[in-house]
């Protein structure tokens, strides 16, 4: 027994003394066990969720489909006029709301996943990143039915498959990750105080109307200015245009946004790791 080299774990006060770099190394080391646990938790959540439900997948689709339906109805009856879109309006709205839904799920998921396992956090020492990963896996899983609807729409509106369609998954991933990064940054504070998740719930629908989800990006006026500084506008519009074949390259802004998202993700994960012991302490239990 004594011959085997035992790993020594040391706990000291002020975890802040550990540098960002060593935290990054620690996170990297935890990736494999975290992934394994995350897969398990993801399977657990999905199986139990679907075992308890008759409608199953349908629930993933309801929010974007209802929103689309409403706007298609309003537009067809000329109650509102969103202006000319370069693809049929129903298709425009369906793509838009689904992309927005992906973003919104990204924002909400980290907090939801960690909250759901609060009890475990105060009792068991497991790689905390597993909760984030399992949340991300559910997002990826929920992409399935959404992509299925888009595929039907694609076929129904007889869109010519263009090479730009290859960029589309990239756009979807970026939308999802940018949402996830923001959600992750809010998670440490959101775990301590309820106000954060409430705030998210109120701000998100509002933000949707400031993003060209249900109407095309205007070319002039105040709204156009706003869109110019709204990175989400660029993300959503570009991804939609890749889908319909109206955009055939990667705009420079998107490269910048991708870099920013990556940076936010790294900061978010670090902040999460550093703050988790402090949060566990305040949870009690």
């Amino acid at each position: 027994m004594s011959s085997k080299n035992l790993k020594i774990t040391t706990y000291l006060p002020n975890s802040s003394k550990t540098s960002f770099f060593s935290s990054l190394v620690a996170i990297f080391k935890d990736i494999k066990p975290a992934h394994e646990l995350a897969i398990r938790l993801f399977k657990r959540d999905i199986t139990s969720q679907y075992r308890e439900s008759f409608l199953g997948f349908f629930w993933v689709l309801i929010p974007p489909l209802l929103t689309s339906g409403l706007w298609i109805f309003l537009n067809n009856n000329s109650i509102i006029n969103v202006g000319a879109t370069d693809i049929p309006y129903p298709l425009f709205v369906i793509i838009g709301t689904i992309l927005w839904q992906i973003f919104a799920e990204g924002i909400n998921q980290p907090l939801v996943s960690v909250r759901a396992n609060k009890g475990m956090l105060t009792k068991i020492n497991f790689p905390r990143e597993a909760l984030l990963l399992s949340g991300f896996y559910s997002i990826l899983f929920n992409l399935g039915p959404k992509m299925f609807v888009l595929a039907i729409a694609f076929y129904f509106y007889k869109i010519e498959p263009a090479l730009s369609l290859l960029y589309f998954p990239l756009g979807v991933l970026m939308i999802s990750l940018s949402g996830f990064a923001i959600g992750l940054l809010l998670t440490p504070i959101g775990l301590l105080i309820n106000d954060v998740s409430r705030g998210i719930g109120i701000i998100l629908p509002f933000a949707m109307y400031l993003t060209p989800v249900i109407y095309p990006e205007p070319t002039n006026g105040n709204v156009a200015l706003l869109m110019h500084y709204n990175p989400l506008a660029t993300l959503v519009t570009s991804t939609r245009d890749w889908f319909s074949g109206h955009l055939t390259y990667i705009p420079n802004e998107l490269t910048f946004i991708a870099g920013l998202t990556f940076l936010l993700l790294i900061i978010g994960i670090l902040a999460y790791r550093i703050s988790m012991p402090i949060i566990t302490e305040r949870f009690g239990g």
Binding site: S15, P33, N125, L192
Partner: protein, 404 residues
């Protein structure tokens, strides 16, 4: 195997805690921002904070088991969380050598909708097993749990005892260098608890165990040293397990029972072994010594020959022993409203622990309760051994020469 290997080394460990919830959240937010920004926080107490754990040190070698005991709120759980790496200490240092496992909550990660079999995987993953490891151990887990018939039905249909069985069965597969156990064996039938202890014994051969429990017989059964905590500090620490447990018992606050004495009867004087007992303290008495009660009653003169009732309750308020007269014809005689008695119980055979005495008087034949005074006096039985049963019978053992 090297048994001198120190696996756990704890030095001067302290942890602050805040009782005020709002303030606690506010401090939490502050701590998070200073931790993320790399600002060092000060060790001193802020408003509404106190030391939940203060200056705890101990070392544990392979094969040793330390029992953490103390009242609720003494800081045991906070100490365990630090040892388990869930929360960082505010002062001091912890060094843990090898694989650390914690038995703090059985069945963590269970989902009630899923079957027992599926939840074995959930729980196992949370405890750090890989899927392959669980695959290999699945049969052993199901066998240990003794609930093979129900393994494919949803866990929400299980009784709490069955959940504990399944949870422990998974946890029993752990092969840690250091095992942390927190009050997990409080539920479950006694047979299964004993089975769990056998497993813990086996684990202890190769590991160091930190054991938290309120059950002193369990502590006495397994621990080689005791750390008695009170308000975050070590009140007793050492290898004399039975001394530690005695000190733990003597910390108990006295609960004075309901004085349901009516006008019909009352106790006017009580002596235990010749001295008047302090109603707010435990009277120490050695196991196997004689217990002599001198009691003087005031009894209404209508009741000429009342019956005496005396019972002993343990600290869980369970009635563990009662006194009956040897001679059924002998009765107490009311002498102008007074009855004085001396009751001698030779060689009390209670096991180590706390007991309270209930005294009562019943009317002859009708059985009407004239007096019932609960917890009139408190005893602490001092003994070397601490065993499960409330009694250890005193007997003589001899080996016979031939066959019977």
């Amino acid at each position: 195997m090297n048994n001198d290997e120190v696996l756990v080394n704890v030095e001067g460990l302290s942890k602050k805690f805040c009782l005020d919830f709002k303030k606690s959240l506010w401090y939490g937010l502050k701590d998070i921002s200073s931790a993320v920004l790399g600002i060092q926080s000060k060790a001193e107490l802020r408003k509404s904070e106190f030391w939940a754990v203060k200056d705890i040190s101990f070392t544990l070698k392979r094969g040793e088991c330390i029992g953490l005991i103390g009242h609720n709120g003494a800081g045991k759980s906070t100490l365990l969380k630090m040892l388990n790496g869930l929360i960082p200490p505010d002062e001091g240092k912890i060094e843990m050598k090898g694989r650390v496992n914690a038995l703090i909550e059985l069945g963590a990660g269970f989902n009630p909708i899923l079957t027992g079999r599926e939840n074995i995987y959930n729980n196992g993953s949370v405890l750090g097993f890989s899927k392959k490891e669980i695959d290999e151990k699945l049969d052993a887990i199901i066998e240990f749990s003794e609930i093979a018939d129900f393994i494919d039905s949803p866990v929400q249909n299980y009784s709490s005892g069955m959940k504990v069985r399944l949870g422990f069965a998974v946890a029993a597969q752990m092969e840690p260098d250091i095992l942390i156990i927190d009050e997990v064996l409080a539920v479950g039938d006694i047979g299964f608890v004993l089975k769990c202890f056998n497993r813990i014994d086996a684990i202890l051969q190769n590991s160091a165990i930190i054991f938290v429990s309120h059950s002193m017989p369990q502590v006495a059964r397994i621990c080689s040293e005791i750390l008695l905590m009170d308000k975050g500090k070590a009140k007793y620490q050492g290898n004399n397990v039975s001394e530690g447990i005695d000190q733990y018992y003597s910390q108990f606050k006295i609960v004075n029972g309901n004085l349901s004495d009516s006008k019909k009867a009352s106790v006017s004087k009580l002596l235990i072994n010749g001295q008047e007992p302090d109603p707010n303290a435990y009277l120490p008495i050695d196991r196997l010594s004689d217990l002599v009660l001198d009691i003087e009653f005031n009894v209404a003169e209508d009741y000429s020959t009342p019956e005496l009732y005396i019972a002993f309750l343990n600290k869980d308020m369970t009635n563990v022993a009662e006194f009956i007269r040897d001679d059924a014809t002998q009765s107490l005689i009311n002498k102008q409203g007074k009855i004085s008695i001396r009751l001698t119980i030779p060689k009390i055979q209670f096991s180590k622990g706390l007991y309270s005495i209930t005294i009562g008087l019943l009317a002859h034949r009708s059985g009407e309760i004239l007096l019932r005074q609960q917890s009139i006096a408190h005893l602490q039985v001092i003994a070397e051994h601490n065993l499960w049963a409330p009694f250890q019978l005193h007997g003589q053992l001899e080996q016979l020469e031939g066959l019977i």
